[in-house]
């Protein structure tokens, strides 16, 4: 039995890196055995390494050595089977776990790298992450090579089947649909015509170069060059995403470049297969060209069709998942992945299928699934796409070191040059054409960014890698050129685009948080423009969009969305979403929040001639519920800093004492969560007011849960006085005078006297009062929420009065 060579070393000190590198070493045979090279030789050579002791210190760790030794032991130890050996108390069986183990180690390496970059902020602000990752890949590859091993290369199959789909799905599912559809024409022209132009221009020029070139390259035929051109001309979505996400450019440019990178996949697929097929043929007939043209439509539309079918199926499935919420995210992922695979099955454009399915299923799925599933989907997609991206770039670096290169100065440099020239010319020419039809023209600055943002990436590399060496003897040359272009675009263009964006003062992305106001205005504007178009008699963009929406609402939503939500108008859905987000933020955030702005109106007295305080009837809570609330609140006392967004219809009080304020909000939030029916805090109106001059903006608000001080006369009461259809509503929002009321906090600890409820006189029938307390409840059990309002010049007479049931 050959003795294991223990490369002695203090493993503890360099254990992480050792572990990592060991993983890489171990991964080599796996990756290679996937079809690249001779597996037998590799295994033997790997083992050979471990047999020899003392070669290169850092490279092998004791556990790895042991693992490698064991199979060897088995191999050479067959005769041992005959003799009896002792029962192995502790055994090692590496081959058993080899593949998942090594895959996990690679992914772990990727994650650690990502972690590292964010821990060191200085570098990541100058150099985009993609560059750093490639450099890491280069280092790792170099390390492996230095050891004597040949590093793994980015397998096309792994790339296309496992690494690319998460990124595309993430992009497609969260595609901002509105800017995308508004600019669809532009995007399509850039994607289709631009890529075609790039491919043919580049291919043609490279052929010319090859004709005048020296022996190694002047054998490359026209078709080979065209194939090469088609591989390298496609803008890569992964690279574009990686770089553009960091520069926060404005939405229009982002969607133009990104949309182009997504949609040009169809063109790339067609051209690639076309030229690959034709490579063997000398003479290309016109018929072949027509077929090629036809196949473009089949590939792209077929891909979209497959995606739409799967998307609709996913939406339909999600309609029934209300009982098994846990697997909802899985449906989304699986259906999308199946769409991708099905499209790839038929040589259709998998990327377009994926995008189409994501776009199609999203509105319906989101209406059907629970909030947690939505969060799960979002985070899983982000996580997977992030890791995929990292792995892709690392592997690009490793493959650079690993691959066999054939460097030819003329070919490579001219490729690079013509790539850039083709891109610039293409963008300029197309923009001149497109601007005739666009209302919002593309400025030269925009054009520059679009041209500069045409990054190439791993897709080009993988496509080149797929080439068959027998048909394409110059494959290595192609790969070298591709890698050079990728490096140039990612490094040079990626690094310089950020300072250039700042230099040219390109409009950045406006961080506008989506607010209910914006939503109202946008919808209003949509309807207005549709109306104007109808009046003009012009069947324009808005007209058809409106028709589509109507069709969607009438037929599609009913099929695909479960239950009542199928009838929910968009505005309401949006509002609920905001509320939900708000509520969750309120509960979850423990961070210090700004004091929310207070909005207030005149007190009740101005509009209540009767003088009865119009307070809200608050829901009754049973005693144990109330106790539960108190318990929760006591436990949550520490989480006092809360943030409140102003759009919330809740009362906002300018409170110098954040704790009490936040406590109030928290309590309110808890109560809300407990009360299922609470949908609308606006209760019965107080009085009708006819004169328009009295109509002021009242703001409806919610009662705040607040801990009343038993001895305080000045406790403000916030009441809501929603108006009947004729009268304006009024709300009192008051600053409670909390000076010196820090004791409020301590009081929480004590048995809080509970929440009081105030009676409210309903004055108009039909207004919905959500809270209908029972008649016989004593004040103590009625205490739930206390309205805070400004007593104003005179004290509120209603305080402390027993609850009067609502009379209708």
């Amino acid at each position: 039995m050959p003795g294991p060579g223990f490369c002695g070393l203090s493993p503890l000190r360099v254990f992480p890196s050792v572990f990592v590198v060991a993983a890489l070493l171990g991964l080599l045979p796996v990756l290679r055995s996937h079809g690249l090279q001779n597996t037998v030789t590799s295994k033997v050579s790997t083992m050979g390494l471990y047999i020899g002791p003392g070669e290169g210190d850092v490279t092998s760790a004791p556990p790895e050595v042991k693992q490698e030794v064991h199979p060897m032991t088995n191999h050479s130890g067959t005769p041992h089977m005959k003799t009896r050996k002792a029962f192995p108390v502790l055994g090692i069986d590496y081959p058993h776990v080899r593949t998942p183990f090594e895959v996990s180690l690679w992914i772990l390496l990727a994650c650690l790298m990502k972690l590292g970059f964010h821990v060191i902020p200085t570098i990541s602000s100058i150099v985009p992450e993609s560059c750093l990752l490639i450099v890491v890949g280069l280092l790792v590859g170099g390390l492996i090579k230095g050891v004597g091993e040949s590093p793994p290369i980015l397998e096309s199959k792994i790339f296309f089947l496992f690494l690319l789909p998460p990124i595309i799905l993430d992009a497609g599912y969260f595609l901002p649909l509105r800017p995308f559809t508004e600019n669809l024409g532009t995007i399509l022209i850039f994607a289709v015509v631009g890529t075609l132009w790039n491919a043919f221009f580049l291919g043609g020029l490279m052929y010319a170069v090859c004709l005048v070139g020296e022996p190694p390259i002047n054998e490359i035929g026209l078709l080979d060059n065209l194939l090469f051109g088609s591989i390298i001309s496609a803008v890569d979505p992964v690279a574009v995403l990686a770089v553009f996400e960091e520069i926060h450019i404005n939405e229009l440019l982002h969607i133009l470049v990104f949309g182009e990178s997504l949609l040009n996949d169809a063109v790339t697929v067609v051209l690639y297969h076309l030229f690959e097929e034709f490579a063997g043929i000398d003479h290309v007939t016109f018929f072949d060209i027509v077929l090629g043209f036809l196949s473009f439509f089949v590939v792209s539309l077929g891909g979209v069709f497959v995606g739409v079918v799967y998307g609709i199926t996913a939406a339909f499935t999600s309609r029934f998942t209300s009982h098994i919420r846990v697997i909802e995210p899985l449906f989304v992922f699986l259906y999308s992945y199946m769409a991708y695979l099905s499209a790839e099955l038929f040589h259709l454009s998998g990327i377009m299928a994926l995008i189409a399915s994501g776009v199609m299923m999203r509105p319906y799925v989101e209406a059907n699934i629970s909030h947690k599933s939505h969060t799960t989907i979002k985070y899983f997609l982000k996580m997977w796409s992030s890791i995929s991206e990292t792995l892709i770039f690392i592997f690009l670096g490793v493959s650079t070191v690993a691959g066999s290169h054939h460097w030819n100065w003329t070919f490579v440099i001219s490729t690079l040059l013509f790539c850039l020239i083709a891109r610039v010319l293409g963008v300029l020419g197309l923009t001149w054409f497109i601007n005739k039809f666009r209302i919002v023209k593309l400025t030269p600055k925009d054009q520059f960014i679009i041209a500069y943002g045409g990054l190439r990436g791993a897709i080009a590399f993988s496509l080149g890698y797929l080439l068959d060496v027998t048909h394409f003897p110059m494959r290595e040359l192609f790969l070298t050129a591709i890698i050079t272009v990728i490096f140039f675009t990612v490094f040079v263009q990626g690094m310089t685009i950020r300072p250039l964006v700042d230099l040219l003062a390109v409009k950045k992305k406006q961080e506008s948080k989506r607010s209910i106001n914006e939503e109202i205005h946008t919808q209003f504007l949509d309807h207005l423009l549709t109306g104007i178009e109808d009046i003009c008699g012009h069947y324009g963009h808005h007209h058809w969009k409106d028709k589509l929406n109507r069709f969607n609402k009438k037929y599609v939503k009913k099929c695909l969305i479960a239950g009542e939500r199928s009838n929910e108008p968009q505005l309401i859905a949006f509002y609920h979403k905001m509320e939900m987000k708000q509520a969750i933020e309120l509960v979850e955030s423990g961070a210090m929040g700004k004091i929310p702005p207070a909005v207030s109106t005149v007190s009740m007295q101005n509009i209540h001639p009767k003088g009865l305080p119009s307070e809200r009837i608050l829901p009754a809570l049973s005693k144990d519920k109330e106790e539960e609330i108190r318990k929760i609140l006591r436990n949550n006392l520490q989480k006092t800093r809360q943030r409140l967004k102003s759009y919330n219809r809740h009362t906002l009080v300018a409170d110098p004492f954040e704790e009490a304020w936040n406590q109030m909000l928290l309590r309110r939030q808890k109560v809300r969560q407990l009360e299922q029916k609470i949908n609308n805090y606006l209760t019965v109106p107080a009085h009708k007011l006819d004169s328009p001059t009295m109509s002021r903006a009242r703001i409806g608000s919610d009662p705040l849960a607040y801990e009343p001080k038993p001895d305080s006369e000045n406790l403000p009461i916030i009441t809501i006085d929603p108006a009947s259809p004729q009268s304006p509503e009024s709300v009192d929002l008051v600053n409670e005078e909390l000076k010196g009321k820090d004791s409020v906090l301590e009081e929480e600890e004590d048995d809080d006297p509970g929440l009081m409820m105030h009676p409210k006189e309903p004055s108009s029938p039909g207004t919905d009062d959500v809270f209908t307390p029972g008649p016989g409840d004593s004040p103590s059990t009625q205490r739930m929420l206390r309205c805070l309002s400004d007593p104003g010049p005179r004290p509120e007479p209603g305080e402390g009065e027993p609850f009067i049931p609502k009379g209708q």
Binding site: L529, I535, C536, H538, A598, S600, R696
Partner: protein, 214 residues
Amino acid sequence: MGSSQSMSEEVRELVSKTGFSSDQIEQLHRRFKQLSGNQLTIRKENFNNIPDLELNPIRSKIIRAFFDNRNLRKAPNGLADEINFEDFLTIMSYFRPIETNMDEEQLEHCRKEKLRFLFHMYDSDSDGRITLEEYRNVVEELLSGNPHIEKESARSIADGAMMEAASVCVGQMQPDQVYEGITFDDFLKIWQGIDIETKMHVRFLNMETIALCH
């Protein structure tokens, strides 16, 4: 023909007033004649002939906007009974797309004009403020296409929006302050993040497909 010569005089005048090109004016004139039934003026009833407009939730506001004296630049409030072609063009000119050769000042002016049109649509009683009631009315109309939605939902949305508007425009408010309503300046502030000039436009020239009215 004499009429065509005088027409071109008028057309030129309209071109300079409203900024449309003569082709656009021709087409809009044809449409105007269709809507008015070859009369010289349009009344509110004429808008009922457009079938597609029936489905629009805010149709009453849109129609009203055509007769709003503030939009017609005739008076600070009130409604006209009928409008002639020039008024029609004036209203339509609010929806012209911005031109590339506009400078900052013109752009700002254009933006303000468009927003003012919108503001007038919200502010129905012409008091210069969008009160809560008016805002509620807007939201109710927006949701009017869904018959089973309760009024309360519309109201609560409007209230929430108003509160947010108040906080954006005024910031911190004391409890005894009243937020009267959204003034035009506040309105401008709310719309600051949205590029209205790129959104609020209709392509006027491609009007080959003229929808027929009955």
